[in-house]
């Protein structure tokens, strides 16, 4: 029963083809049977899921079903789930069971969606390959020797492998879009403030934003409808009426102005990826869009600026993991300092420690102006670049990443090479604008995603473009061979 879109499952549930309990049992059986290849799940919550499925079936019987009622999905393992451990893929939180549910989780549960488990990720969302997980690397269902991307690599692999129709992700510098691109999915990072961050373990608070990862744009729109909306518990949540992100899906693209920033097509871009992207752009042009050359002159600066701001915030956000209240505590601490030092040294992985140290350094007295303040100025420049560009065009397109998914282990020795992977995605987080990835072809059997960025609150427009493109292409319907083999 896998390899179905969320909408398909929803339709078949309402047609009475099967119950939520049946599809949930099927999906959990599929995960148990096949996930050993991908390692996409950290925790499968069979009991809780079946309880939720039964409740969904009961709700459907009363005629009160929603689109998502009874539909299984998975949470990236940094959404706090009440009574279900939430690890952030870290030894630090290996046994942490939150006493509460995130706002996004509450909203999804309120529609009757069924959470089947928690997906693997880079530890505390720090990484671009999902190799920084205490629970082991995730493998790309399209090619088991390739990374799925990160940090939402488990969510991406789980959906790509057909284990679940949809999963939540978070995107701080590309963590939804890049794994979506690497795994042939539709994933969207909404406008900063669209989706509440309450209950999502913070990496870099001013950049973090949650969004859905699905097979189709339509599925993503339905998921986002459930996830988005103002939340008084998140002070950075935007006080905007909840939009219906499915409303514009079928709008024609005639007259759409698409900007191609020359900085997205420079020497670092794999020529075959460039070919895929240009072919996709041509097709969108054929749908009536006008293609315009634009420039985002400060794009290059987004990498150094991001790798100051994000680690700075992370160094502070992760201070609470000190071995005192919850999470990992070292054995037999000699004194308080020993408790702090060993709990953190033993509880955090290498990349997390690297970013905590970078951030601590950048915020230190005497360095703050040169690093943190300067990075904030660059952030302003990047924002201004987008404002200028989006005054001329409706949306901006380009590649999500310079290459298709790379081989497992190929970048782990060189953190800077890994950071360069994020060159095209970081800027949308810096500016706070929405951006998404939609499947646009393959290079040597590995997927390539088309990056679509728009103005604040233009999610419906982005999803509309992706949906129209998906009406004339089949890339998003391709399935990896691992799906057939294991099914």
């Amino acid at each position: 029963m896998t390899n179905k879109t969320l909408i398909q499952i929803s339709t078949e549930l309402s047609a009475g083809n099967y119950s939520s309990r049946e599809i949930t049992q099927d999906i959990i059986a599929g995960i148990k049977a096949r996930d050993h290849q991908f390692n996409s799940f950290i925790t499968v919550s069979e009991d809780l899921a079946l309880q939720q499925a039964d409740a969904a079936d009961a709700r459907r019987a009363t005629g009160n079903a929603d689109l998502l009622t009874g539909v299984p999905f998975a949470h990236k393992d940094l959404f706090c789930t009440q009574g279900l451990r939430t690890t952030c893929a870290s030894k630090m939180l290996e046994n942490f069971v939150p006493p509460y549910e995130s706002t996004v989780g509450q909203r999804l549960l309120a529609t009757g969606a069924v959470c089947v488990g928690k997906t693997n990720m880079d530890e505390f969302a720090m990484g671009s390959s999902n190799e920084n997980s205490y629970f082991g690397a995730v493998k790309n269902p399209w090619d088991l020797s390739a990374v799925p991307g990160g940090s939402s690599g488990g969510s991406a692999a789980a959906v790509a492998a057909g284990l679940v129709p949809a999963a939540t992700g978070t995107d701080t510098g590309g963590s939804i879009r890049q794994p979506a691109s690497f795994c042939n999915l539709t994933g969207i990072k909404p406008t900063y403030g669209r989706v509440s961050r309450f209950g999502i373990v913070a990496y870099a608070s001013s950049l973090d934003q949650a969004g859905p990862m699905c097979t189709t744009a339509e599925d993503a729109a339905v998921m986002l409808n459930a996830m988005a909306g103002f939340d008084a518990q998140d002070s950075t949540s935007v006080q905007q009426d909840a939009a219906d992100f499915t409303a514009d899906l079928n709008q024609p693209l005639a007259g759409l102005k698409v900007g191609l920033p020359k900085e997205f097509f420079g020497s670092g871009l794999d020529p075959q990826v460039a070919d895929c992207i240009m072919a996709a752009v041509k097709q969108i042009e054929a749908l009536g869009a006008e293609i315009v050359d634009i420039s985002l002159p400060n794009l290059e600066l987004s990498i150094p600026a991001y790798y100051v701001i994000a680690p700075s915030e992370a160094s502070s956000n992760l201070s609470r993991f000190d071995g005192v209240r919850y999470g990992y505590r070292c054995d037999q601490p000699e004194d308080l300092m020993d408790l702090y030092c060993r709990s953190r040294a033993e509880g955090f992985g290498a990349e997390v420690k690297r970013r905590i140290m970078v951030g601590t350094y950048a915020l230190s007295e005497g360095y703050y102006d040169a690093y943190y303040l300067k990075a904030q100025r660059i952030r302003r420049l990047i924002k201004d670049d987008f404002a200028r560009a989006l005054a001329k065009v409706d949306v901006i397109m380009g590649p999500v990443a310079p290459t298709p998914a790379f081989d497992l282990g190929s970048n782990t020795k060189d953190p800077v090479a890994m950071y360069l992977e994020d060159i095209y995605t970081l800027s949308a987080n810096m500016a706070g604008i929405p951006a998404m990835s939609t499947p646009a072809g393959f290079v040597n059997g590995r997927p390539v995603g088309l990056h679509i960025m728009g103005n604040y609150f233009a999610e419906a427009k982005l999803l509309n473009i992706a949906h129209q493109y998906q009406q004339v292409t089949d890339w998003h319907l391709e399935t990896p061979s691992t799906m057939q083999k294991g099914a």
């Binding site: 940094l78 959404f79 706090c80 939430t86 952030c88 939180l93 942490f96 939150p98 006493p99 509460y100 995130s102 961050r197 309450f198 209950g199 999502i200 373990v201 913070a202 870099a204 608070s205 001013s206 008084a232 518990q233 998140d234 002070s235 950075t236 700075s312 915030e313 160094s315 502070s316 992760l318 201070s319 609470r320 993991f321 000190d322 005192v324 209240r325 919850y326 308080l336 702090y340 601590t360 915020l363 230190s364 007295e365 703050y368 943190y372």
Partner: protein, 483 residues
Amino acid sequence: MAWEIVIGLEIHVQLATKSKLFSGAKVGFGAEPNTQTTLVDLGMPGSLPVFNQEALRMAVTFGTAIDAEIGKHSVFARKNYFYPDSPKGYQTSQMDHPIVGIGHLDIQLEDGSTKRIGVTRAHLEEDAGKSLHDDFDGMTGIDLNRSSTPLLEIVSEPDMRNAKEAVAYMRKMHAIVTTIGISDGNMAEGSMRCDANVSIRPKGQEKLGTRAELKNINSFRFIERAINVEVERQIDILEDGGKIAQETRLYDADKNETRPMRSKEEANDYRYFPCPDLLPIEIDDAYIDVIRNALPELPDQRSARFVNQLKLSEYDAGVLSASRALADYFEAVVVVCNDTKLSANWVTGELAKFLNQNNLEIDAAPVTAEQLGQLISRIKDDTINTKGAKTVFEELWNQTGTVDGIIADKGLKQVSDMDAIEAMVDDVIAASPKQVQQYLDAEVEKRGKMLGFFMGQVMKASKGSANPGQVNGLLKKKLDALC
């Protein structure tokens, strides 16, 4: 060498909001550990702060009360440090853009003059939890009830030159925050506490000396003692040719000494940066004006009114307006007895003496303002004299009855019956021929003083209940008639 003392105070005022600075948990003292907490106060992963608008109103109220600049764009910053009772690993405070900027307040010095003390800034911040070291054998317990309780930290300029000025400043600050109702000012429960930055320099030198920071002083008396003992310590060191270390010190009230907590070398680099979970606080003139216009009568204004309208002395007015509770009490006494001078005398005299002796604040006085007003009324209508009134006051303090009930029970009603008084006066004159002769021999100007002996005798004979005015008049008449 002559030394000049330089003192600046950082006062932490706990704001009297119902809920915490960044969560909906109740603020309160004395509850079971960790019962007044939410996810936010526990520093739970994924939890986010939401700013309490009531704390903003209170901070702006304070700013307008000390005529300070109000930050129209103020920013919360994270102060990063590890400590077990700091659940997030940082304290949310304000650094570069505080809610209250430069302001000032005036203190009265002992010579009656006024001195203006500069206020550098006041900013909002959250309190930490508490570490409980005594309750668990070999372990430390953490109570996060106090975590995220709203504080206003008020930083003064180093404008004070002795411990008494520091106390006067703290008292004035106490009067202001209690008058404008932003804090209960309860120092015993830690609602108001201060850190004192103390340094000394040779008189005439402009450059400031190296300072020591005395932490967490929680009573007016300790401020004075702590500063004085620290100044002595610094003088001793410098006069012995030593150097003062810049460090944080703790005042030990039992031993009356200060001792080092941590030195500058050990000090944290707090790595302040704007808190990304909270938006900057943006306020406009309209918001500030509404608050400014709603300010209650401030201590200085009240003191001026006491002088101008109630005709009190500057001194009495200053004392009575030093705390809102005291001033309210005084005015309530006046309402009952309609005598400002007597009310002032009793409140600053007998009442203050009893409060002091019993170490009580005015709120806890067992004698109500209404009772004291009635008592004063009984003096005014000649029912009792001052001596009797003091007896009644003591009984009221011990809560043994009502004013009139005590007067009746104790037989304190003063004798105003002219015949009875005349009989006592005659008896005393007859029994004191020697003193009468001395009186008659004395020069007229000196006789007034000599009347005291006869007054005393008559009052003694009446067991204190004779109306002293009547006795005085009658004695004078009778003695002068003998001339």
